[in-house]
């Protein structure tokens, strides 16, 4: 009876931990979305807001990390639960990095719009890539909430699209800079943005890998995924 009560309490703690991660995720999502918007419509107050949110994201990271170590020390959790906690600490790190990247995008967006040499209308494809990254992050967090392995596997393959778009943006920028050297400094800023977006895609992919690790117990980092005949993803040996 007492044992039952204890394990119920433990479950609640784990549930609360997951919710915390997802709330932090929500903050980071809004940061990324705002950063992309600040770039495409030059809304500079949005850019300032993103910088302000950073403090809250960092506070979340510290809080969740402390919670994790407390749980480990007090409960000495067994296999599955320990896996969840380990994954949570990794997801939190990824989220914090994504926040940093969003911050970077916002800062560059501000510089570009203050310079005003280049019309960002020409970089619709960056906005595209940005939207794709926002979408990927959202789906990754959804998969984490639902512990949906299938979705996680599908999203991991989506990262390739972002990598591909990143390369095409770089190609476009290079021709741009060659045509008109006055645009070089702004183009470099835009490259930073593209790189940050590409990193956001990578971190979202990491989150999906953690979802698979929680559920299946296999570490699929640094392995290639293959599509099975039934359309499901599985790691290649």
């Amino acid at each position: 009876m007492a044992n039952d009560h204890l394990s119920k309490q433990f479950d609640n703690e784990l549930e609360a931990l997951r919710s915390q991660v997802l709330q932090m995720g929500g903050l980071v999502e809004s940061q990324v979305r705002g950063a992309i918007q600040a770039f495409s419509n030059g809304n500079l107050s949005l850019a300032d807001q993103i910088v302000a949110t950073e403090v809250r994201v960092n506070a979340f990271e510290v809080q969740i990390d402390t919670d994790c170590s407390h749980i480990i020390v007090r409960r000495q959790p067994a296999a599955t639960d320990l896996r969840l906690i380990m994954a949570v600490t990794k997801v939190v790190t990824d989220l914090e990095r994504i926040g940093d990247e969003a911050h970077k995008v916002a800062r560059m967006a501000r510089q570009i719009h203050e310079h005003g040499v280049v019309d960002v209308q020409h970089f619709a494809n960056i906005r595209h890539t940005g939207d794709a990254a926002v979408n990927m992050l959202r789906q990754a967090l959804d998969a984490f909430a639902r512990l949906d392995v299938e979705d996680a596997g599908r999203i991991i393959t989506e990262d390739r699209v972002i990598d591909f778009e990143f390369k095409s943006v770089i190609r476009q920028l290079i021709t741009y800079m060659m045509e008109d050297p006055r645009t070089i400094s702004t183009s470099l800023d835009i490259i930073w943005i593209a790189k940050a977006i590409e990193r956001i895609g990578d971190h979202s992919k990491n989150i999906c890998e953690q979802v698979i690790y929680i559920v299946m117990g296999t570490d699929i980092r640094h392995t290639k995924l293959e599509m099975g005949a039934d359309g499901k993803m599985f790691p290649k040996a």
Binding site: R18, Q23, R33, R138, A145, R146
Partner: protein, 439 residues
């Protein structure tokens, strides 16, 4: 007293009497034997029915009532009646429940029932669409795990649900939702959500419109006042002041044409639908369009007009004229001297078609979706130089929509544009016999 007991007693009595009679007639032990046999038979009969009853009671509630015989009939019949009544009632409740759930599901509002820990208990179809959640697989999940907007988490945490909250959904095709929490039984909550995207966009449009109108009128007004003050304060010679007065007149005309266009738009907006069904003489209308375009071009472009005879429209002549000349005049304005402009009117498919093709500056793809917005111009200064107000296409689109016509724009920057208006069959009058025209 109940029939079963009475009749059993009567049977016992009869058995006893029979046994006594047998005892008297034959021997005592024959009497006892008969009595015992009858008793055992009676007991067996009752036990069998008790067993049937027991089996039925502990079986599924939908099992039919078992067959019975003799005095138990009455009991089983009563049971059967009650059972049937219950089945009927249960069906009615199930139907009622299904119907009210269906009503809840079909509501245009999103309804999500949240448990004490804000976990999803149930939601209807609209809520599924609003929050991208699933009634099947997301039950039990805390709502803030899936709806992660920080404003939403703040709203839930504040526990102050007096005012609704507006949030943008995180999906690619962003919706604006107005949501409100309503306390519900047993520390549950109802989360109501309503799609207010349209109203939200309309609000933004209205705000932009007012800002645009003020801006558009202020620019010429500033110039006008500047010249007025110059003429008033400085002593200018006659030719200088005439120049200034001319410039002032030009700005005045600009303001006038903006106001005229705005009035046209508001007339179109408030006009009753449908726009009438007078016959429009397309040959005459296109001749007028041609005249206007030619005078605007002043011979700088090569202009061709091809009109298929006998294809007429029904509707409002003024509205169609203004839509058609706006398209033709745009082609002239946005085509550099020496370019060519081709205007065609013809029957096409089921209906009819008006095309204006030019070899002008063209329009980059990203501007196309916004072109018919009020005051939207690709290049402000160029539009102003040519006397544009930025309202021409808005007027054209409105006038055409009133005639169920669609406007399609194909264009490539630097190559030229093609604006095509398509009318449905319902707006096109049957071709008149040629002979009439010949006579």
């Amino acid at each position: 007293m109940n029939g079963l007991v009475l009749r059993t007693m009567a049977m016992l009595l009869a058995a006893a009497l029979g046994a006594i009679a047998t005892g008297l007639l034959l021997a005592d032990h024959w009497g006892w034997a008969l009595f015992c046999t009858t008793l055992i038979a009676l007991l067996a009969y009752h036990l069998r029915h008790l067993a049937l009853l027991n089996r039925w009671v502990s079986g599924a509630s939908t099992d039919p009532i078992p067959e019975s015989s003799g005095v138990w009939d009455e009991v089983f019949a009563g049971l059967y009646r009650r059972h049937r009544l219950e089945v009927r009632q249960r069906r009615r409740f199930a139907r009622l429940l299904a119907r009210s759930q269906q009503a809840g599901r079909a509501l245009p509002y999103g309804v999500t029932i949240l448990g004490p820990d804000m976990q999803i208990v149930w939601c209807n179809d609209s809520a599924e669409a609003h929050f991208s959640i699933s009634r099947e697989s997301d039950i039990g999940q805390p709502i803030t795990n899936l709806v992660r907007q920080p404003e939403f988490a703040g709203y839930i945490k504040s526990a102050n649900y007096a005012e609704p909250l507006e949030i943008a959904t995180a999906r690619p095709d962003e919706l604006i939702l107005s949501i409100q929490m309503v306390p519900y039984v047993d520390s549950h909550h109802l989360l109501l959500s309503r799609d207010v995207t349209q109203a939200y966009k309309l609000g933004i449009m209205r705000r932009d419109f007012v800002a645009n109108v003020s801006h558009e009128l202020r620019t010429p007004l500033t110039v006008l006042i500047g010249f007025l003050e110059t003429v008033r304060d400085l002593k200018l010679d006659a030719s200088r002041s005439r120049d200034y007065l001319n410039l002032m007149a030009e700005q005045g005309h600009r303001m006038q044409s903006i106001i005229e266009d705005l009035l046209t738009l508001s007339t179109l907006e408030s006009a009753l639908q449908p726009p009438g069904d007078e016959r429009i003489d397309m040959a005459a209308l296109l001749a007028q369009v041609r005249n206007e375009a030619e005078s605007l071009s002043a011979g700088r472009h090569s202009l061709s007009v091809e009109v298929e005879p006998g294809v007429d429209l029904t509707g409002n002549t003024g509205e169609i004229t203004s839509a058609f000349s706006n398209l033709a005049n745009n082609a002239v304005r946005y085509t550099p001297p020496g370019g060519s402009i081709r205007i065609q009117w013809r029957a096409a498919g089921d209906g009819a078609e008006y095309c204006v093709t030019d070899s002008g500056i063209g329009i980059a793809a990203e501007h196309l979706p916004r072109l018919t917005e009020r005051f939207y111009r690709v290049d402000r200064s160029r539009s102003r130089e040519t006397g544009g107000t930025g309202l021409g296409l808005a007027i054209a689109k409105h006038a055409l929509a009133r005639h169920q016509a669609t406007l399609a724009i194909e264009s490539e920057a630097g190559k030229g544009s093609c604006f095509t208006v398509r009318f449905p069959r319902s707006r096109v009058l049957a071709v008149q016999p040629r002979s009439v025209a010949l006579n």
